[in-house]
Amino acid sequence: MYYLGLDIGSLSCDAVLLDEEANTVAWTVVPTGARNLESIARARAIVLSDAGVDSKEIAAVVATGYGRARVEDKLAAVTEITCHARGITHQLPGTELLVDIGGQDSKAILLDGAGKVAEFTMNDKCAAGTGRFLEAMARALEVDLETLSNLDVEATGDLTLSSMCTVFAESEVVSLIAEGTPRAEIARGLNRAIAARTQSLVKRVERNPKGRRIAMSGGVARNPGVVRALAEAIGSEITLPDHPDTIGALGAALIARDRMNRQPG
């Protein structure tokens, strides 16, 4: 039998399919779009097809992400916080602190050593510094997200953005472009601003993160510029799992497996 984890986020819908031994047999990331039910169905169909598995062979589905309630045949809906903690501990055992930045949420999760959440905090009031923020900044810089993620490599300055409000930051980026500031410097400034904001989230759960075993998950973990800036800000190396945007779905699939194996008979 197989276990399916679905993470329905604001930007992407991720699926991970595990076998009985908790090996990942298929995974996918598809855009969520405006119709998340269709995205859920598409993600599910892709992993089943890639693994050559029939839907009847799925023993349990656990859903997470903001759209978790929309999954109809789930065994349970579990929050992203719990799922990311479970997923990262499976892939990077010994992780003490996880930073997850997704489409509209940033989270810092302190782990207890056994994959359980000891404490967590999330961004409040606005989504500055998340995937949506980076999308808007990439638009302003007229580059795609992948280009943006490595644009800072050539930067040498210490520019930082004064505003983290997406609208004001976009205006600031446009002004910097108009002033002739190289895009590499602007990208570095953006990354530093995101890192400063994320660092304060991290320090709310762990005042001295330096030297802790820190990992990062979520779609923004695929942006090396942000990861570098955050590691610099925290003063600690940040380890990335394979496919960081699927860690929530992986955790959901693992929880599905855990719960089925715990059930009597």
């Binding site: 903001y66 579990v78 929050t79 916080i81 719990t82 359980k116 404490e119 905090t121 999330m122 409040d124």
Partner: protein
């Protein structure tokens, strides 16, 4: 219009209580007393004072002045669903949306003519400067005299004497502007009722702390903080007796081995005052229960009716929201132990510097007691910024964490 509304509400509640048929009457009795207060506030023959939270309401009740702290109005407007136009009016007059919405809504209501005109106002420097500022604004708006009480941020005999003298001056101010002399026998009788109310509230809290709590999910909301308005009154005593009897009855009639709640929570400071689904979500979907409310705590000792101003000063200075955060933390530790809570929810009100400033210290202190804290950034009055999905995710993750 408002007078008719409160008269209708009073009649409806009186009819329901007279008809009987329900074993749960305490909250209705509480609502009736609030409705009666509304009638008095809007009645043309009543002497009315708008006040700060740390005003001794038993003194004003003894002097036949109907009084109310302004934050109560904000809570009422939010709970009845009518707060948004008030906030918009205040904002149109230039009040920053970063200012506390309890205060913005009251200013909006005053500008809209929905607040009864006071005879005078009594402000207090604690627990927050914003509360005093709104009282000053109202005094200017209504062109009425204002008396300000400075609550010292420290404790001890000097602070008590200093505040007691000010309360004596407050009584003189009230006597002058209500044109009724201070009757010390009436004050003494009021303080005796206050002491009875205190005993009952302590008993209610002791009953509510049982596992599982006998208190129904919404019955204890705002109880302690609103009861301050009824200090020294027979109406307040009747409400408290109804609560005590109801909780006692529930405890006596339920099986002795009733299971403990899977997750017991303490709510810090303000409840969210407008209608929202979070509480039902906590109970019904997550299996958690809010069993303790910081604002229901009664930390003060009985007052000496023969030394009323000193007693009132001692009471005000023992309120944990006045003075050092350390004092508040001490009480929170006591409540957490008494109620055997697994975690605490701290919804720091937007624009509340006191709540926001204390957040880190409270989290650290309760965590060291083994009580994790979920900090939420919430506007308890303004529903326009309510992020239901975001808040549900945080609550759900918190309960998952505690359950693990």
């Amino acid at each position: 219009m408002m007078l008719q509304y409160f008269e209708g509400l009073t009649q409806g509640l009186e009819a329901k209580l007279t008809a009987g048929g329900s074993k749960y009457v305490a909250r209705k009795r509480y609502a009736l007393e609030v409705a009666r207060l509304g009638v008095k506030l809007f009645h043309p023959d009543t002497r009315v004072a708008w006040c700060g939270i740390a005003v001794p309401f038993d003194l004003l009740n003894a002097m036949d002045v109907t009084s109310c702290y302004v934050e109560f109005v904000g809570a009422m407007l939010a709970s009845t669903g009518g707060v948004e136009p008030m906030l918009e009016v205040a904002e149109q007059r230039g009040y920053s949306t970063d200012a506390c919405s309890y205060h913005r809504s009251v200013l909006g209501a005053a500008i809209q003519g929905l607040m009864p005109e006071p005879d005078f106002l009594v402000g207090t420097s604690a627990p927050c400067a914003g509360g005093l500022a709104v009282i000053e604004n109202l005094a200017k708006h209504f062109h009425k005299p204002l008396h300000v009480i400075h609550i010292p941020p420290h404790r001890g005999p000097e602070a008590v004497r200093y505040l007691a003298e000010q309360y004596r001056a407050t009584a003189d101010f009230v006597a002058e502007h209500s044109r009724r002399p201070l009757d010390l026998d009436a004050v003494r009788a009021a303080l005796e009722r206050t002491n009875q109310l205190r005993e009952l509230m302590v008993e209610i809290n002791r009953l509510a702390a049982h596992t599982p709590t006998p208190a129904r999910r919404k019955d204890m909301i705002n109880l302690g903080i609103v009861m301050a308005l009824f200090y020294g009154t027979e109406g307040g005593l009747e409400v408290a007796r109804a609560y005590r009897d109801e909780l006692t009855g529930i405890l006596e009639s339920r099986p002795a081995d009733s299971p403990r709640e899977s997750v017991r929570l303490m709510w810090l400071q303000n409840r969210i005052q407008f209608k929202h689904p979070l509480l039902d979500f906590l109970y019904d979907d997550l299996g958690a229960a809010v069993v303790a409310d910081e604002l229901n705590d009664i930390p003060w000792q009985p007052l000496d009716p023969d030394d009323p101003f000193v007693g009132m000063a001692e009471r005000a200075l023992s309120i944990p929201l006045v003075g050092k955060v350390e004092w508040r933390i001490e009480r929170l530790r006591v409540i957490a132990r008494e109620y055997q809570v697994d975690g605490a929810i701290n919804p720091t009100q937007w624009g509340c510097r006191q709540g926001s400033g204390a957040r880190g210290l409270i989290s650290d202190a309760l965590r060291s007691e083994g009580v994790p804290v979920l900090n939420l950034e919430v506007d308890c009055i303004d529903p326009r910024s309510f992020a239901e999905g975001q808040l549900k995710t945080r609550l759900e993750a918190f309960v998952e964490m505690l359950s693990n």
